[in-house]
């Protein structure tokens, strides 16, 4: 029999038993949805741990570098707390608040026309702030100025944005020129069209947008290359405190923000312990909730939280999946038993048992795919809306899902085949 014949007979069977088909598809859909969710959760967990390796570079007096892919997925309240915390650290480190706030907005989108003028007014304002002559906050100042729409970039943005090595090569930073060439994500080309000048008021480095990255890079996590609308308010913007020259001789400790809690993670270095103590003390004075933990301690705690959330879901998903498979298996078997006469006729017509099994296999394959595809698409959509929305994760779990799909398909479709294997056609009548 040709494949078209098998497909047609499988389609006929599905149409004739459509109610049962839809019922099993629905059950499978729920199972797959939960299973994919759980798998994404586990992968996401790994991803988060990677994020937990992001470091704050600091010395005894100053916090000078924060790198975080993670921060862009914070919600507003987290971001707000983050800023308060940063501010507290900043104060502790003896950096003036105004300066810090400026640091928080350390890269400013400046149109080429207004560039010099703006820098001057900004510096003047900072000096005023230092002398205590200002009446409005820095944030307000920025909002009121023409350069209110601030995009936070730094010269390490390629790392922040998690670009692959290939994509990094696409970005050529030629620092010998007055303007450094830089690339922007496809989705940002409207806000940052080619030719736009950017000024880093801390390093004094100037950038010029010379390249728009290919469309796919819009899927990369990170602020600059994000496909999402940029968040431009002070409280939830991506912030980096660069820069390279501050990184020399720095000590490191890890910093992590999650689940509405703020952790300062001290490593074993004396300096970090000192800083951690200072952080705790300052935070306490400021009424902030800060807990100092070691990095392994945080990882362990995070693992427990993840497991406590995901294990019941995994168990439920697996139970539902098992029930779905049993449902398919039994419905296939019952349909074989109830259609004994029909199968006998098919055999009498010359359709072989192997072909009948193929028909059943195709039927089950369609059933699985009809359930799996929407479940996968829906979970991808859900994932893209959540925190840690790294879409590569959903692709990474595909082989595993495919393997599960094949195993389940074999269980559901082959058991009835084994059941009937030794029967002669006359037994079907």
């Amino acid at each position: 029999m040709r494949l078209s014949g098998i497909l047609r007979l499988a389609a006929d069977r599905i149409y004739m038993n459509r109610k049962k088909f839809l019922q099993t598809v629905f059950m499978l859909f729920l199972s797959f949805f939960m299973l994919i969710g759980v798998l994404l959760g586990f992968y996401q967990y790994n991803y988060t741990l990677i994020c937990a390796n992001e470091v704050i570079q600091c010395d005894k007096n100053r916090l000078f570098k924060v790198e975080f892919k993670y921060f862009e997925s914070m919600d507003e309240s987290n971001a707000s707390r983050f800023f308060q915390f940063m501010n507290a650290l900043n104060q502790m480190a003896g950096i003036r608040a105004g300066k810090y706030e400026a640091a928080a907005m350390n890269y400013q989108l400046i149109t080429t026309q207004a560039e010099e003028e703006s820098i001057v007014s900004q510096l003047e304002y900072e000096q005023q702030a230092e002398r205590g002559e200002t009446t409005i906050s820095m944030a307000e100042f920025y909002k009121n100025s023409n350069e209110a729409d601030v995009l936070f970039l730094d010269d390490a943005f390629v790392d922040i944005c998690g670009l692959s090595d290939t994509e990094k090569k696409r970005i050529s930073l030629k620092e010998d020129k007055e303007y450094t060439d830089m690339a922007v994500g496809y989705e940002r080309q409207k806000e940052l069209p080619v030719g736009t000048g950017l000024y880093d008021m801390f390093t004094g480095r100037k950038y010029r947008v010379t390249q728009v990255l290919k469309k796919e890079s819009a899927f990369l996590p990170g602020s600059l290359f994000s496909s999402r609308e940029p968040k431009l308010s002070l409280d939830n913007s991506l912030v980096t405190l660069p820069n390279d020259r501050w990184m020399k001789d720095g000590y490191s400790s890890a910093y992590q923000v999650y689940q509405n809690n703020i952790y300062y993670i001290a490593d074993e270095k004396e300096e970090c312990k000192y800083l951690a103590e200072q952080v705790e003390k300052t935070a306490k004075d400021l009424g902030q909730w800060v807990e100092v933990k070691s990095f392994p301690g945080l990882v362990e705690e995070y693992r427990k939280i993840q497991q406590s959330e995901q294990v019941p879901m995994l168990v439920f998903g697996l139970v539902l999946l098992f029930l779905s498979v049993m449902n398919i298996f039994l419905s296939t078997l019952i349909s074989l038993l109830s259609q004994k006469k029909e199968l006998g006729i098919m055999l009498a017509c010359g359709i072989t048992k192997k072909e009948i099994y193929r028909i059943l296999f195709v039927e089950n394959l369609l059933r699985f795919l009809t359930a799996f595809c929407p479940a996968y698409a829906l979970m991808c959509f859900y994932h893209s809306r959540g925190i840690n929305n790294n879409m590569s994760v959903v692709i990474r779990i595909l082989p595993l899902l495919a393997a599960i799909l094949v195993i389940l398909l074999l269980i559901a479709a082959i058991l009835p085949v084994l059941f009937y294997r030794k029967k002669y056609p006359a037994a079907f009548r």
């Binding site: 029999m1 078209s4 006929d12 006469k341 009498a348 010359g350 359709i351 002669y424 056609p425 006359a426």
Partner: protein
């Protein structure tokens, strides 16, 4: 040439053992129209199933054109059934959820014939058997005679050499039964070997030769 040599078939259950065929020796020539007669439970249908490769012998040999069918592997037996044999059953054995056209098309699908060709063959046989107008009707909504014609069209469309009919007139009235026999004679004219099981003497009279089966044995 079909040859059964000491063919035996025993059905075994946990508590019973039934001898359906008991050392049957039978030869059927190519293009012969043979009627098999016998009372209920005499083993006629079992004989037909054995001839069609639908069941297996527990003893003896079954030879078809020199090939020992009882020694064939399952795959080759299925191939034999697919290519050489067509069945016509007493209760027509049509699939209720398929139209007349689709029922006739079924063995052609099994043979892997292309759609266009299938359509031509099916339409040709529907025309020949006077059921062209029933193309899109479902079996439960047509008469017994029309159903049996559909079953015959299905058997003929397959183009097999051997046609096995299990009481083809059993569910039909006398007039329909006679009409059906005319069709069988036509089929016989097409150089088909026909083995027909019946317990109606008159119907058996249409065959070239009549074989009687009693208690699993060929009596005459």
């Amino acid at each position: 040439m079909i040859r059964l040599k000491n063919a035996g078939k025993i059905y075994r259950g946990e508590t019973f053992e039934t001898k359906a065929l008991d050392y049957v020796n039978l030869e059927i020539k190519t293009n012969e129209f043979l009627a098999v007669m016998g009372s209920s439970g005499s083993g006629k249908t079992t004989l037909l199933n054995i001839l069609g490769g639908m069941d297996f012998l527990t003893e003896g040999e079954y030879e078809y054109d020199g090939v020992k069918i009882n020694e064939l592997s399952e795959n080759r037996l299925e191939k034999f059934r697919k290519e050489k044999v067509a069945f016509i059953f007493q209760q027509f054995a049509l699939m209720d959820r398929y139209t007349v056209f689709e029922n006739i098309e079924m063995p052609l699908l099994a043979l892997g014939i292309k759609k266009k060709e299938r359509k031509c063959i099916v339409e040709e046989h529907m025309e020949k058997l006077g059921i062209a107008a029933l193309r899109d009707k479902y079996p439960p909504y047509i008469s017994g005679g029309q159903q049996q014609r559909t079953a015959i069209a299905r058997a003929l469309a397959k183009g097999s050499e051997l046609i096995l009919a299990d009481e083809p007139t059993g569910a039909l009235d006398k007039k329909c039964g006679e009409e059906l026999m005319e069709l069988f004679l036509d089929m016989h004219g097409m150089k088909k070997t026909i083995v027909m099981v019946t317990h109606d003497e008159k119907i058996a009279g249409y065959a070239e030769r009549v074989v009687r089966v009693c208690d699993g044995k060929v009596c005459s």
